[in-house]
Amino acid sequence: MGYGRSDSYRVATTQENKDVKEKPKAKGADLEELKKEVPLTEHKMSIEEVCQKHNTDIVQGLTNAKAAEFLIRDGPNALTPPPTTPEWVKFCRQLFGGFSVLLWIGAILCFLAYAIQAATEDEPAGDNLYLGIVLSAVVIITGCFSYFQEAKSSKIMESFKNMVPQQALVIREGEKLQINAEEVVAGDLVEVKGGDRIPADLRVVSAHGCKVDNSSLTGESEPQNRSPECTNDNPLETRNIAFFSTNCVEGTARGIVISTGDRTTMGRIATLASGLDTGKTPIAKEIEHFIHIITGVAVFLGISFFILSIVLGYSWLEAVIFLIGIIVANVPEGLLATVTVCLTLTAKRMAKKNCLVKNLEAVETLGSTSTICSDKTGTLTQNRMTVAHMWFDNQIHEADTTEDQSGASFDKSSETWVALARVAALCNRASFKANQESLPILKRDVAGDASESALLKCIELSCGGVKAMREKNKKVAEIPFNSTNKYQLSVHETEDENDNRYLLVMKGAPERILDRSTTIMVQGKEQPMDEELKEAFQNAYLELGGLGERVLGFCHALLPEDQFPKGFAFDCDDVNFPTENLCFLGLMSMIDPPRAAVPDAVGKCRSAGIKVIMVTGDHPITAKAIAKGVGIISEGNETVEDIAARLNIPVSQVNPRDAKACVIHGSDLKDLSQDQMDDLLKNHTEIVFARTSPQQKLIIVEGCQRLGAIVAVTGDGVNDSPALKKADIGVAMGISGSDVSKQAADMILLDDNFASIVTGVEEGRLIFDNLKKSIAYTLTSNIPEITPFLFFIIVNIPLPLGTITILCIDLGTDMVPAISLAYEIAESDIMKRQPRNPARDKLVNERLISIAYGQIGMIQALGGFFAYFVIMAENGFLPSRLVGIRLYWDDRSNNDLEDSYGQQWTYEQRKIVEFTCHTAFFVSIVVVQWADVIVCKTRRNSVFQQGMRNKILIFGLFEETALAAFLSYCPGMDVALRMYPLKPSWWFCAFPYSFLIFVYDEIRKLILRRHPGGWVEKETYY
């Protein structure tokens, strides 16, 4: 399996490192450069300067010749895809990564030992050669398996890619041309209209009601106006720049291309993301640690017995062969496959729950996660403006914002509401796109501005029939919204045919609407607007604004019939009708509401000890409101500002330690030193970062990692991708996510639901626990596999267990039970405990080795040896005769070896007995492994508490037994694998030891439960 992430970058750089010594420095500097903010200056220049800079003309555009020249100079206007790793490199990474290295070293040692034997002996035993071949085969097969597994997920990835080529409308030599977006060059004059994708970074030269959706770049959920004026020094916030790959929502604009391809803002972020070096996954680190332990044990054993065999008088060569043999015997051949299968199973299980894991190792990462940095827009929220509150009849009403309309409803009977709804429906240019009648209202596509569509949907939901209403109230005049008026107005016929008055409806910025109103409708009655009501309005406005919502005011007026008779010509340019002294109806406020499942999911994360940080490009007020809404800032927790407001003191006098929560603005973040940043992250449990740039998101993630946290980042926009990449696990959104973010992520939420992360955490934690059990189970049988060889060397008995039988255990009978432990259910509520501390809670620790090797493994070895001695004794070789017999036993020319009874044996005859012993030892290991797998089901609980509901495990028990019986009794096995049929009584030799294992471990766990924190827990709880 690949212990590097499957991002393609790393290999590319390492190759470069080797090739050119200078390059890494340059690359490093590049990255640092990219981490800085965007160095755009065009927004501050005048249009003429921009034209001059790019050699273009404001009317004619570029000449074709120049365009061609620039195209050659700059290359096509497309993002360089991250250098894709060649398939063979990916394959090799699977073959030589992490755990496989251990097996490869084992295989090489085997071949080495065989070479030594072949050089020194006439008839070398083939064992080492076979073992080497099998080890290589295991690595290659598992490598192929995980390679195809990951190839499968990357295929799903590819299906996300949008293959439709983009078109762009450019003006060259004064003519409008529709060209492929890739051919756009800097200096081109480009026209965009609503629905287009911006083909490159544009400096806007003229715009008509143009709005762009920057959410994938900045995280702002509302479309932004574009106009030729420079409104902000920050290029991301100024209005006269439109960014590559954002969408133009409505209106038209014309602009000069200022940069293309990778030099665009979006391109820089994408390059930054693909240029980031990601660390190892936590599981890769754990496996590395495990390899260290195993290698340590192997080398220790090997060296000790090397010295011992020299002391015992073996030759140097023999001792070296023993050394290699012992080291290789310590390699758990089957574990690589087991771990891979366990991770794959979990990955599949997660994919079913809508978490697609791009690389296997990331499966566990969510389980170790201690901090989640979540983007707001689209992840926590629905990325859709929705009417959240209304204020009418001097009261704030709550609208239903849930996705499935399960929330609270409000009183719709008030006449004020009817009037308000009518205004909202009529003074609204948004409309449903055609042929969507079958879809639920909230899912329908709307043409128009986000807030207008919010109103449209709200009215359609609560009153219905907006279309009919509009037909009945024909529009006769309209003044669209503009930034000087800050209102929108239209005049309609009334639906009452007898009433020939015209209805004037208006919506806009609340204070402007209020200024134009003299009366206010309360409970359907018009009342004069007095100070008291004005104050009520102010309070409501402030309260809704404080919730981070965008507030609109509504008013109407019925124009007197005598002045405006039917057929009156309304002139919207030179307004010939009153736009003041209207009747105020109420306020409606909109927000991009949180997804329904998010608050619950955040709560679960919190109880699982995971810190959830919001990192968004949106405004602090909105961010804070959503944070409060979803529980990222929990009820009762205050920020410094809240405390200051409550106590009525300046912010500077509040002790920052008193505030658990904080909202940090991107511009403040810029000025923080690293220490301050650490301090901030350490001392606040609930943090919201607002107005952050992509680079700052990256800094936040790095800050968390510096404090030792394992960080998950969720996000959907391009602006999130550097952070996604840097995070220990990046989680992208499958539906709304941009391609760049999906590329950078390790995991994709297919349903865009933050709650799926909780599933991921749960599965990740479970697989970590279960991998421990699986490894404990697999490692245990290492001891009964090694000890026979050790005794063979020290006391010179015939070999009790051969290489083939060892492989039959590791790659045969142990497999299914070990894998079945991955299906084990959790022992306690894993979502109620703290995330593991990567420094302390290791996958494989000394205690696990102590239990597996020192205790259970030893009992198993005794069971095996007992079976061995039984068979030898029953065939005539009593234990006393066996000790020291090895040299004669293995001498091919000695065909009259005497047993304890004086019978004489040929080489072949006694070898059959020896191989029968191997078979019996093998069967005994299967028998003791029955108990071991039951014991390994739990780490703390008793089996009687846990139950035997794991059907795969029960199947595994039967399967290993059947396999053992098959290997022993199948005709032909004596020739094929040198395994011989056992007499039935020999199956029972290991039973007492199997029983002992069960009883011993149950007692151990009982003490463990009775004395938490006691000696037994300290020494044996793994």
């Binding site: 102590s850 009992i859 007992f866 005539g876 009259d896 047993d899 004086g902 019978q903 007492p992 002992l996």
Partner: protein, 292 residues
């Protein structure tokens, strides 16, 4: 088994602290008492395991018969073996080079010493030839020690190594007519034939047909007399003398490898194992060099 604290230690600690940490008085990450406890635990644990193992072994050994092994199914066809054994079943020497065959003489002298007539007469009985010498136990009462029949060295004739002529005394090695002794592996209770006594028949292997020359067998016919069977195991039949057959190569071709295979011909041992080249037969290489 290192305690957790050692992982919490700052990374800057020198690695020697792993072996001796002066601040916490830890040796290899454990304090003395911690080491004491864990060693004590393992001591007790392994003592218990050893006890359990000894117990099960004791129970098992109690079920084992002292005089006859529980299973003999792997010994259905007794093996054949030669003396002198040589290296890898090869007997190679040079007639002129005394030292090259002297080692065989030494080995054979030692091998045949227990068969000296005086020794046999002292320890063993004279039995009735051509019939099995049964000495069964009567129920629980053991009929021990069991007697054995004499196999006298003199029965081996010119291969007995007894005599003054150098030809006989050197078992024919000095004259290029070597004797090879063939014995049938001992198997408790085995009866090697029914009516006809089993005998050894040697012949050339591969293409060595004409090189082998004539053969002479001792005792006559090269047979194993029934009176030496059945064998009751060395515990019951302490002085058992394993019967021998000597084969003398009287006319072997010199200076070439001669591959010989000897088989036991018996009416009970009829099939030979494909895999086991020494069950019921034995093959060896003979090469006698002579300077021309």
């Amino acid at each position: 088994m290192a305690k957790e604290d050692d992982e919490r230690k700052p990374k800057s600690a020198p690695w020697t602290e792993f072996f001796w940490n002066p601040r916490t008085h830890e040796v290899m990450g454990r304090t003395a008492s911690s080491w004491g406890l864990i060693i004590l635990f393992y001591l007790v644990f392994y003592t218990f395991l050893a006890g359990m193992f000894v117990l099960t072994m004791y129970v098992m050994l109690c079920t084992i018969d002292e005089y006859k092994p529980t299973y003999q199914d792997r010994l259905a066809i007794p093996g054949l073996m030669i003396r002198p054994k040589g290296e890898l079943m090869e007997i190679i020497y040079n007639i002129e080079d005394t030292e090259s065959w002297d080692k065989y003489i030494q080995k054979l002298d030692n091998f045949l010493a227990p068969y000296n007539d005086s020794v046999q007469a002292q320890k063993n009985d004279v039995c009735t030839p051509d019939s099995f010498f049964y000495q069964e136990d009567s129920g629980e009462v053991r009929n021990n020690p069991k007697r054995s029949c004499q196999f006298n060295r003199t029965m081996l004739g010119s291969c007995s190594g007894l005599g003054s002529e150098s030809d006989v005394r050197t078992y024919g090695y000095g004259t290029g007519q070597p004797c090879i002794f063939i014995k049938l592996n001992r198997v408790i209770g085995m009866l090697p034939g029914k009516g006809q006594a089993p005998y050894v028949s040697c012949g050339p292997k591969n293409q060595d047909t004409d090189k082998i020359g004539e053969l002479e067998y001792f005792p006559t016919n090269g047979s194993y007399n029934f009176m030496y069977y059945p064998f009751y195991g060395i515990r019951a039949q302490v002085n058992y003398s394993q019967p021998l057959v000597a084969v003398k190569f009287t006319n072997i071709t010199y200076n070439t490898d001669v591959n010989v295979e000897c088989k036991i011909i018996s009416d009970t041992i009829t099939e030979y194992s494909e895999r086991d080249k020494f069950a019921g037969r034995v093959s060896f290489r003979l090469r006698i060099n002579k300077n021309i």
